[in-house]
């Protein structure tokens, strides 16, 4: 198992703490079957241009960090550009730290937070005294072509240029709620230190509500993201992973996407191993698979 990126520096008072939904996303994209699919889709033989990977609503940034630190294992190549968005400025700060730490951990050969085994255990004959340097050499390529571009305070994909995103991750606020919290106005993105305890509590509660409250069927925010997908994804090789819970009616969401036409399809992944608890979590993979999809991108050299 690829280690979970560290989020020990993140304050979870007002940022969503990585939980089973986040981990399902990590396990899904790094599963043998899925990464084989991704490696085929993003083969350098088809298109050499580096992957542009975006996570909308990063929270702690654990999913984006996982992809940024392990692109070779997941996508079969190490040349990736990553960018995160969140409506919460604190989450933006947390994300860049989580991503940079994860990439650095990988490069330094840290075993990560499993603590269960280090890669060293799998390399018999290596003197533990020298092991650090061996791992550094092994992972020397990590981080050289992995560039974190920015964290931006924004609603979903609002400022993204059309047809550029190769991989989009979204772990939405998916819990059905009677109403939706409004998006924060631009000014709230700036820190205010003069808050009373009660104001701070109110503000933290509000920011946390943005991480889970999904409105009708838990789908109000997710629907807005789905609407943006045909516009922001690279039409040739782009793929989006969106987490859903049972109450979001994943089968219906899937059908709706297939009705978009233009070769858009959706697959439900990770359904068979998530049956515990009262809610079923799945990952929806959305991409264009019609004629011409996953062939050389529209951009050409020169």
């Amino acid at each position: 198992m690829i280690p979970t990126p560290s989020t020990s520096h993140v304050s979870f008072d007002r940022i969503y703490e990585p939980a089973e939904d986040s981990f399902l996303l990590l396990d899904t994209i790094s599963s043998e079957e899925e990464s084989a699919w991704l490696c085929r889709r993003f083969s350098k033989e088809i298109d050499q241009s580096p992957l542009f990977i975006v996570e909308a609503g990063t929270g702690s940034g654990v999913v984006l960090a996982f992809a940024a630190a392990n692109p070779k294992e997941i996508f079969g190549r190490s040349d990736v550009l990553t960018l995160g968005t969140d409506v919460n400025r604190d989450a933006c700060k947390a994300t860049r730290q989580t991503v940079l730490r994860a990439v650095d951990d990988k490069r330094m050969g840290y075993p990560g937070e499993d603590g269960l085994f280090s890669r060293l255990d799998l390399m018999p004959g290596v003197d533990p005294g020298e092991s650090g340097s061996v791992l550094e050499v092994e992972n020397a390529e990590t981080g050289k072509e992995t560039h974190f571009l920015a964290s931006m305070t924004t609603d979903l994909c609002a400022p993204l240029r059309a047809r550029n995103v190769d991989v989009l991750f979204f772990n939405p606020p998916y819990v059905p709620t009677p109403d939706m919290p409004p998006l924060p106005p631009p000014s709230t993105a700036d820190e205010s230190s003069s808050m009373s305890k009660w104001e701070k509590f109110e503000r933290d509660s509000y920011l946390l509500s943005l991480t889970y409250a999904g409105g009708l069927d838990g789908m109000e925010t997710t629907n807005r993201l789905l609407d943006a997908i045909p516009e922001v994804l690279n039409p040739w090789r782009g793929v989006a992973y969106v987490l859903l819970c049972g109450q979001n009616k994943p089968e219906m969401v899937k059908e709706r996407i297939c009705d978009w036409g233009g070769g858009w399809t959706a697959e439900i992944l990770g359904a068979d191993n998530m049956q515990a608890g009262w809610e079923r979590l799945v990952v929806l993979r959305i991409c264009r698979d019609g004629p011409g999809a996953a062939s050389p991108s529209t951009v050409t050299k020169g």
Partner: protein, 181 residues
């Protein structure tokens, strides 16, 4: 009420954790509770800001501007930049070029006082190492710390503070249906 809802997304997950099912995901959740020492990278994070290449992937957040050519590139104003050394990988820059909007990059380069970006996008015959190094320096090593991004179509200004650009829109420009409730 709101606190109870806060627990909503996590409580369902806690239920599952306590069910004792040993899955990879459970292992992940336990592991993420442990801490490892902070290292120099945390200092780096403090200084880390927005790379210039970001400008190639963004445009005005106002929906009505998307169709207008003048909404790209966003224009840098009153910026403070920093240089941060990044490992130079010539092949990476070369493979990145097809993704770069050259006219846009020229505009950005001029705004940032970068004189060396050629008028015409280099092709594989005209690309040489000094040019790749220049592009590397502009796209990856130059970081915007403070300043503004301005839309050439609607004139809206997006502030950049500590390298984090703020694209949240005021109510009258936003597109979120939730704002009406």
């Amino acid at each position: 009420m709101s606190l109870q809802k806060v627990l909503g997304k996590t409580m369902q997950l806690d239920d599952r954790k306590s069910s004792g099912e040993k899955t990879d995901r459970l292992r992940r959740s336990i592991d993420s509770a442990t801490t490892i020492p902070n290292r120099e990278v945390d200092d780096l994070c403090e200084a880390f800001v927005m790379r210039v290449i970001t400008i190639n992937f963004i445009t005005c957040a106002v929906k009505a501007c998307k169709a207008s050519a003048s909404s790209f590139p966003l224009h840098f104003q009153d910026v403070e930049v920093e240089q941060q050394e990044v490992h130079f990988e010539p092949a990476f820059i070369q493979n990145l070029l097809p993704r770069i909007d050259w006219t846009g990059l020229r505009t950005t380069a001029i705004e940032l006082g970068f004189p060396t970006v050629p008028d015409i996008k280099p092709n594989n015959d005209t690309l040489d190492e000094p040019m790749l190094r220049d592009l590397h320096r502009l796209l990856l090593e130059t970081q915007v710390v403070e300043g503004k991004l301005v839309c050439g179509n609607c004139g809206h200004e997006y502030s950049i503070k500590d390298g984090i650009a703020n694209f949240l829109l005021p109510d009258h420009l936003g597109s979120s249906p939730s704002l009406e409730t």
